[in-house]
Symmetry: D2
């Protein structure tokens, strides 16, 4: 356990730096015989790619996924699936002014203190560019889940003070990709877009929320008492850069009482279901078959185009100039990352659950 | 990895059921030579004990901690430290009416579906009584952290609609234990107490938040990129029964911009510090030396004293009678549990960090 | 990972010291619904118990297994199964003469150096008494394997210079328990017994080998490339006190060529089988359906009844007197321990294998 | 845990197939600040390279190591170190005759049965070519250990019936690399060479032993009771292709008694040392500061140039023709692999040991 792996049976290990050779990873534990649909995987990567719209950083990366192992005749073989995306538009020189300054609320200071070494080019390992690996590994997990009819949909539910007002389960998520902010409500989507552009003009950044709904869930996923489904999802989500919070379901909203948020059971054609879904599809850490629903809270990204006071590695107080290529709002690009991390966790819990009961 | 262990180097495994022989656990990886202050440990357990005030369940349990191994002459030996608390007031008969009914929003249905077996007595493994083990293991972790001058303080920041209005870092946490709701603001504490009693009278339950502040943090704890300090804390917190959300620091509050929530660095007597602490003491998943601050959101507990519609294991729709001994609000008793889980994670990350840099 | 756990899905954590309260453990990951046959488990424990014959230490321990959790109506519930055997005949005083002397080839010196603390009573954690936990956990694993028609038989194949001459697969292992040395050949058994008694008279000790055969193996167990079935078995076996070597199958014996030790495949009623079994049932780290065969080499136990020169913890060269209650030969009692460790590994690999292929 | 990772703090994950794009891996947990001497690493890889002498397979691979991440200014950064060796001389066509036949004692049958898929080109994942990754990761571990003055030396101690007669600790290991069989005894080396060439002429193969000595060991490495130093070394060694046995030290040799193999302690300039080293440097699973000594037993490789009877995947009994490029004896090339696996385990245990005692 040294931090760059996640999962137990569906296990993902990643590597790579923002301005090095590339970003890659290894998926170990993908069952053999899965059709590895490379077009689907590339499409997921394209959804997080820089330069995809006027709202995001203009770094030019084709982000072409290359597979290095584990696939034969288009199918997984049970061997580890390794992959890499080579960096194309790395410009380490762009970061020379950061060589010694610690950007406020970024990883420069903590990484330097922890490791005693500074890879100053674009943040090295702690650049959000590492999330390319998450999306690729997550897309493989999604292929496994789709095979089980489990589907994951992320979307933007809030940017700054503009937010979805209704229960997130009420929106038509097929609309999400028609909006460059990935908000399923077209009107709000426009307002969010305007907000991001205005913030960008100020050289500032803004945060927001990504919602996520998982449909087709089987009952029984999650490994109590420490690897509960929601516990593992929380770890996975909060490991995403700029994620600072997560909330499951609606049972903590509006200060409701137990009698108001309990999800009563009923029989739906012989299937045990709940009338409401305040629990967000998880009870006592185990999926109950209803849709999984949660929201992840992202802070405004810390790299802003304004001057800031800080300290450098020589122990001097300095002023840091705001320049470079960055996102005014990371939230729309975080959507496929949230989906990917959800897929990794659920695929892992799906495999873990095969050992819960004695087979007869 | 089968769910009942947490941690990598400071590793906790727990066992036991609500109405079985007892609740216990094993701490593996506690460094040798630590003074195991059993009085401190028992005191932490007493803080979560039922029957401690009029606000909580009146189940009578002395919750006396017995150590089974790993201690010699009052000190840890490096061998696993096992412990047990015997159940005294178990009343499995009290639960006969639940033998087949699935309590709404409780674990009855999901556990039965997952494991194909029902230990109906008091919820078996998924009763919140399992948290006794967490508190004991966490207290051992706290002893290790205290030795490093790291201190953890939990408190209630919200019950129903009554909440602390100021930044949680501004309260005198020495007041916490003088309030039976464990809220550091005496006035709000009284209001919370009234709210809980009124909810109890209605046979209902109410949720709330537990805040947590960790002082004396060294810089550098957290193992990117998946075992970030906040990621591991999130997993640990959301694994607590009834926890449905977690938020770190204040950078997602009030829809602020990047320029408003960035924590600028300055030099404090040669030490790099931040002027503000919107990050909650964690940047890029690694502690920056400022206080760790987060809040855990608890839903109202699902066991209410009102009748509810549900389904039983025979596949019939039934009405469930509300009776037994339960908490109208679990939040005050959750305070030592939050502290314990924080301690387990931070102790683990403290040990992990010993390998970050080459020793010269 | 702190050393006192083994296994991934079928995970065993143990605790306890030789002269403390007791020896115990936790099995996490046993599938729910398994009939926990306590009589079988106790019987396995009795097979390793001290005082069972004239060949072994006369320490008097009833070694009664108490289960603490995880069982309901005689079946596993999916919750962790904890257990303890209380020590009865602990005599820490007997070890006062060892308070500071490091017994040659024992763990006194290495443990003291590693942990900086000395639990001198009977070796504390590194006494072979810890193997009681292995046998109990292993017996639970055996119940799981028996349910799959997998059976494990250990036996003594060598004591000192007395050894089985034929291939170990040719003996009738039903004879094993009729011999107090647990050798399936009655004549050799008598010779081994005589050897042990003569060595005992000299206050000396003697080593030997335990053979192990696993029948009913499914094809496909083992997780390449590091958790190969033979790799995991090796770890498990060499973790047993006094085990210093392991050899699988017969392909390294008698300096044979590839053409002589290759196991040719043939069809046996449509089933792919091998004509010979030099591989010991494992090829490329995965079971091939033939019997698993291996031998574990045990050194003579280090505690002898003769005086020895050594050093004490005060840094003085001293002479150590040979006294106390000890085994002249640990090999017969190691048989159920070898079986137990084999069962733990194979149960784990059996559960792991459920995720190898896509389920259709 | 899905088989392709080893280690806990110094963690190695590998990927790649014999006739795919390449063989690679990721080292996670290497402390930051280590000088990554690429020349040393390449040299270790060259020592296992095919075509290096007349004794080994003539497959032509330059085996040039490319690093993908984790290194900055020549030093480790604390981020994962990924690497790849591209395959150059892959000839999947050479293996078309194997498309459906299961080679005796090879992994063809067990892999196909386990994963339900056949990557027939050169054995895919289970080709010994995967050991390239082990050597690279192991070389990084060796750099870490060398920094601590720990040195690892492997050598051939036996080929067929030609073996070193004296205690392996008595040879001058500086001679090892002057022999193409890597035996430190020049006379025996010549005999081994002749034996291999004669076996090659017959189209047959021969096995043997690799000895390994680790000098400069600190006291205290190893994590009882399941991750003992010798237990972890055993797992690592037996995971090497064709390894079928391991023996530590000399305490199981020649049927000696306890009084003959116990290692008495004495004081050597105030340092506690042992007069003899029958234990092979490990007592109770923990290093005692003496040299680690063990031997790994390799079977004759299963691919022979003779016709063999077998079964194919269509369920027919067939005759398999012996052809292709293969090693008559893998043992000399196994030397750097044994060293590598030893280094990975010891580096891991070295980092684990940092948490054994309370720091004052």
């Amino acid at each position: 356990m040294s931090g760059n792996s996640i999962g137990h049976l569906f296990k993902v290990t990643t590597f790579g730096e923002s301005h090095g050779i590339g970003i890659g990873g290894v998926v170990d534990g993908c069952p053999a015989g899965l059709n590895i649909d490379q077009k689907f995987i590339q499409n997921q990567v394209d959804r997080r790619r820089p330069g995809q719209s006027i709202l995001v950083t203009q770094r030019k990366e084709s982000d072409k996924v290359e597979f290095l192992s584990g696939i034969f005749d288009g199918k997984s073989t049970g061997a580890p699936i390794a992959f890499i995306v080579h960096n194309k538009d790395q410009r380490p020189k762009d970061y020379d002014h950061l060589k010694s300054s610690y950007r406020p609320s970024h990883g420069d200071f903590t990484y330097t203190a922890k490791y005693g070494i500074r890879d100053h080019a674009g943040g090295g390992r702690y650049s959000a560019r590492e999330t390319v690996s998450r999306v690729i590994a997550g897309a493989i997990a999604q292929l496994l889940l789709n095979h089980e009819n489990i589907n994951i949909s992320g979307f933007v539910s809030k940017i700054g003070d503009v937010q979805l007002l209704n229960d997130i389960s009420t929106y038509d998520l097929n609309n999400t990709e028609q909006s460059i902010v990935r908000c399923p409500d077209p009107d709000l989507s426009r307002k969010m877009e305007e907000l991001i552009l205005s913030v960008k003009k100020e050289g500032d950044t803004v945060g927001g929320n990504v919602g996520c709904i998982v449909t087709g869930m089987p009952v029984g996923l999650g490994q109590p008492i420490f690897s509960k489904l929601d516990a593992e999802l929380s770890k996975a989500m909060i490991s995403i850069p700029a994620a600072k919070g997560i909330i499951f379901g609606t049972s903590t909203k509006n200060d409701l009482k137990g009698s108001e948020v309990n999800d009563e059971f009923f029989l739906d054609d012989g299937i045990v279901r709940t009338k409401t879904n305040h629990s967000g599809g998880i009870q006592a850490g185990i999926s109950n078959g209803e849709n999984i629903c949660f929201e992840v809270l992202f802070k405004p990204v810390s790299t802003i185009m304004q001057n800031q006071k800080t300290v450098d590695s020589l122990g001097q107080e300095v002023e840091l100039e705001g320049k470079g290529r960055h996102d005014p709002c990371v939230v729309p690009r975080a959507v496929p990352i949230v989906e990917a991390m959800a897929a990794i966790v659920i695929a892992d819990m799906f495999l873990m659950n095969k050992s819960s009961k004695l087979t007869i």
